[in-house]
Amino acid sequence: MIIWAIAKTTVGDALRRKVLQVFLVVAIGLIVLSLSFSQTLSFSSQRGISADLMLLKSFGLGMMALAGIFISLILGVSLIPQEFERRTIYTILAKPVKRYEFIAGKFLGALLTLAITTGLMGITFIATIVAKTIGAHNIVDVKSVSALQAKADSQIAFFDVNMIWGVALVYLQFMVLSSIVLLFSLIFTTTVNFFMGAAVYVVGFMSTVVTSLGGAEGANSFQRAFFKTIYYVLPRFDQFNIPNQLLHPEAQVTNMASYTGLMALYGLLYTLLALVAAILIFERKEV
């Protein structure tokens, strides 16, 4: 109950932060604006509306991912330090609230906030795709090579389940990032934490680069061990980022539902790791 109470309060407080609202509004606005993007690829062999949808989907996913980075960082770096700055933490911890309950409540609040923001962007994203697809039914692509293709154009279904996985993977990615940043906020200052969090994301995203650095010719055993450690310790954000598979279902090499499920488990474990570490640190932290 206490954890839930703190989580709810955290969500209410976080969602009212102007910076977060600005990022969210801008992201949603751009996703909606992408409805007007249109490609008239006259030489393309493929159906015209498919190219538009491809652009819409890729832009929407990319926009959510980009907005998610900033929202996660902004949320994570300030959520707990703000309690110290505003001294709200004193009245809370003076109550019979265990320290781990406070931390767990903040974590849960952050994840819920992230879920709400991602959910809003995701709903907008999927709505724009549906809107574009509905519009497709009113278009006869006169540039179709054959009548068969024109007929196929008119039969595009409304819903692409891959976009749900896309939104879910965006959320999971930033669940992990914000958890790490929340943990760091107990150790580092806000500014240092922001850049540390961004660095963790970039290095985790470029894990294949890290591997190749570790395996580069001339690398000594220490360097190899170092890069190998980074590779295994840092969460692999690139594994959440698979737009190719989502946007080209004809090229899917793995079942997306089970992959997303595995990534959800991976994300939850990392979040749990950050949470337990945060609890251990906070138990000994002077307020």
């Binding site: 206490i2 407080d13 709200t88 003076a94 019979p96 002077e286």
Partner: protein, 308 residues
Amino acid sequence: MNVAEAIVVEGLCKEYRSRLGDRMLAVNNVSFTVNEGEIFGFIGPNGAGKTTTIKTLLGLLFPTSGKAIVLGRPAGDIEAKERISYLPESPYFYEHMTGAEVLDFYCQLFRMDKVARRKKVGELLERVGLGKDGRRALRQYSKGMLQRVGIAQALINDPDLLFFDEPTSGLDPIAHKDIQDLILSLRDQGKTVFLSSHQLSDVEHVCNRVAIINRGELVRLGTMDELLHAGRTIITLACANEQLIEQIKPLTAHFAQDGDLAKFYVEAEDDVHKVLEIARGKASLVSVVPQKQTLEDLFVEIVREGRK
């Protein structure tokens, strides 16, 4: 430990270390007890270690050494927190919440169910005079209203021990009086109040005992009577006779000449009679004025001593 003691502090030390390794002893070997049912004043200049001591008692900080027991449990113990409350200086709450919502939030921290919370929130808002303002957002509250909310959240669990840190800071005289009355009523209910305040007149008025802390050390502890002496008497004579003045001076703590008027500050009561006896017939008696020491006087004296 005597069960009647709400707080026991023995040899409490709290040392801070900076990143460069510098050490600062914020609380140095402080020992005191607070009895149940009393209002205990805890005063000192800024940076004396008051807040550090309070935070240690609340479990927000961890002592470097020494012991702190609150309601029979180690400081910071969860069971103890069920029975204590804390009103910080200039309390801050989540601005987006209304008065009722923030109290409801704190009620949830005591694991109260919805029905109990609704009842408690209503009662508390009425008690602190915010019955009509409970639905307004806190960002619209004045400082006094926020202080009332702070008091309300401190009363949620009907605590046995309350920590008040500058409860009247920034309040108007009426609100000030209300707080004083509240503190006294709490004592009447058998509650223990640990009061830290710069309003020394309040402390002198309501506290049973007072501890004065300076530079991390406990320098005075006792009742008002124990701490404050009777004071001194100012005898003013219309006299310019230097011989007479020199005769009287050894009996006084202090002498001041103001034109024809000589002011003698006499501490002991016997010495007052002696001075009057010596002056009889040799100088005109202008006035005899007894002067009692206040807590503020004592505070200033202690601080000045500390600076030497």
